[in-house]
């Protein structure tokens, strides 16, 4: 599902990720842990092909970083649900519209959009906030809305980039519970975090990265 084969990506300042080998299979839940600047977000960006490796090859489902055409990148991204750290909701749209956005991109019909968005909002506990705007929601609610948006197109993979980074411990545990529930339904989850305690408590498999080099996995 996700495979990194000896991948190196270097930023102009010399930082980056180096000789990364990685393999995540369908339905697995992995943490990618490491301190800030270790290369976690770089790996996430490489997976959804926001950038391409200098060396090595990345495979995501049937797409290869060596062969993919630019015009096919949107197709790859439709198979991935992204959950960013900074919520990234659109402030000029209500929650329903924010969550529905990926479905408009793939051209779903109005009724299907309504049904899928509402059932996901129920799943993340935000059904009564559907027509509220992001600024009216708490951090935890915004993150749950992001998760709903990441899930709405029924992706094979969820990439969660520090989704609990801006949340208090109790809300963070709620979000983790939600991601675990999604994972149990068969969606692979790769979540970055620098919160070692949280990872220890949950007991999932993890890959540790430091200075762009995989330490354990």
């Amino acid at each position: 599902m996700i495979g990194f084969n000896n991948v190196t990506y270097t930023y102009p300042n010399g930082m980056g990720v180096f000789n990364v080998h990685l393999r995540i299979l369908p339905g697995e839940f992995y943490f990618l842990i490491g301190p800030s600047g270790a290369g976690k977000t770089t790996i996430i960006r490489l997976i959804y092909m926001d950038m391409f490796p200098d060396r090595g090859e990345i495979n995501v489902n049937r797409f290869s970083s060596k062969k993919i055409r630019k015009s096919k990148i949107p197709q790859l991204r439709r198979e991935i649900g992204m959950i960013p750290q900074n919520f990234n909701l659109l402030n000029d749209r209500n929650l329903f519209e924010n969550v529905a956005l990926p479905l408009h991109v793939i051209g779903c019909e109005k009724k299907e959009i309504r049904d899928r968005v509402m059932s996901l909002l129920i799943e993340v506990g935000l059904e009564d906030k559907a027509y509220e705007y992001p600024r009216e929601l708490s951090g935890g609610e915004q993150q749950r809305a992001c998760i709903a948006r990441g899930l709405v197109k029924d992706p094979d993979i969820i990439l969660a980039d520090e989704p609990t980074g801006n949340l208090d411990p109790s809300t963070a545990m709620q979000i983790m519970g939600l991601l675990e529930r999604i994972n149990r339904k068969g969606t692979a989850v790769l979540m970055t975090s620098h919160n070692y305690r949280l990872i220890k408590e949950l007991g999932h498999r993890f890959i540790e990265i430091k200075n762009g080099i995989i330490q354990t996995g």
């Binding site: 949107p74 991204r77 439709r78 000029d92 956005l101 948006r149």
Partner: protein, 288 residues
């Protein structure tokens, strides 16, 4: 289908969300199209004026003194076949004598004892619509005809009228092109502002797998909508102005000012073109 409806709805939303810049763009389209519309009306109606002036163009052909009325009729028939001749009237020696007597109140036969006036003919020229009337070739052909003594025409006046008409149309066209370019730049800058204001939306869309076309389409619809709204306002204003002109200035204007469907289609066409080019220019920076 639902995608198309969504993108169209987004285009309307973009216009609505950026009311001030949309207002600027619509205002600039409106202003340009009113000016261009005035030019279209002038151009459409100047036909009536130039056709009237051209109907007054006359060429007089005088035949040799020994040409009989019968021979003159044969020459007239020959001239009728030449390019650029709309109609021709034979003026016989007797007709000419009558005209002279009418104009000068003198009978030449009483004075001279004979009629010295030759047979002649008056030619009216064909109308040419927008194209310049060039009488040079016709004059040359007339002078080649045997028994034609002299060809008299107001060459300088015709050339001046035609030159003035041609130059006016040319200047109007240049001004219209200039205005179109300015409006395209205004729309393109408006769309550019709209694009910059929606950076977060664009990043979001890219991350969830939206194609470039999906991202671009609402901006293009935004530009076209601004163009069409500006055009509709301009058409309404021009229509009212033309109606008022035809109602209140009948004493000054001898003909009815026209602003027909062709003019409206041209203006809407310009508006769509302006919107399309402007918005393409606006988004191309962002989505290379």
């Amino acid at each position: 289908m639902s995608k198309i409806i969504y993108l169209f709805h987004e285009g309307i939303r973009y216009v609505w969300r950026h009311k001030l810049s949309a207002f600027t763009a619509i205002g600039s389209v409106f202003f340009s199209l009113v000016i261009i519309g005035i030019f279209i009306i002038v151009q459409q109606n100047s036909h009536q004026l130039i056709d009237y002036i051209r109907s007054k163009y006359e060429i007089e052909v005088f035949f040799e003194g020994n040409v009989t009325n019968e021979d003159a009729q044969l020459i007239v028939n020959q001239i009728k076949e030449l390019d650029g001749v709309q109609s021709i009237a034979l003026v016989t020696k007797e007709d000419a004598l009558g005209i002279y007597q009418e104009q000068f109140d003198e009978n030449l036969i009483d004075i001279l004892g004979y009629n010295p006036l030759p047979n002649s003919a008056v030619i009216n020229l064909e109308k040419h619509g927008n194209t310049e009337v060039d009488i040079g070739p016709l004059i040359a052909n007339l002078e080649k005809i045997p028994n034609v003594d002299e060809v008299v025409y107001e060459g300088t006046l015709i050339r001046r009228v035609e030159y003035f008409y041609k130059t006016t149309i040319k200047i109007i066209s240049y001004i219209a092109i200039g205005l179109l370019v300015i409006t395209i730049i205004v729309i393109s800058n408006t769309v550019k502002l709209s694009v910059y204001a929606k950076q977060d939306l664009i990043q979001n869309l890219q991350s969830i797998g939206a194609t470039k076309r999906f991202i671009k389409t609402p901006f293009i619809i935004e530009g076209i909508l601004e163009g069409i709204i500006g055009a509709i306002l301009a058409i309404v204003v021009l229509f009212i102005a033309v109606r008022s002109g035809n109602t209140y200035f009948t004493d000054i204007i001898s003909f009815k000012i026209m602003f027909d469907i062709t003019g409206i289609i041209w203006l809407l066409g310009f508006a769509i073109l302006i919107g399309l080019i402007g918005s393409y220019r606006g988004i191309r920076v962002l989505l290379k």
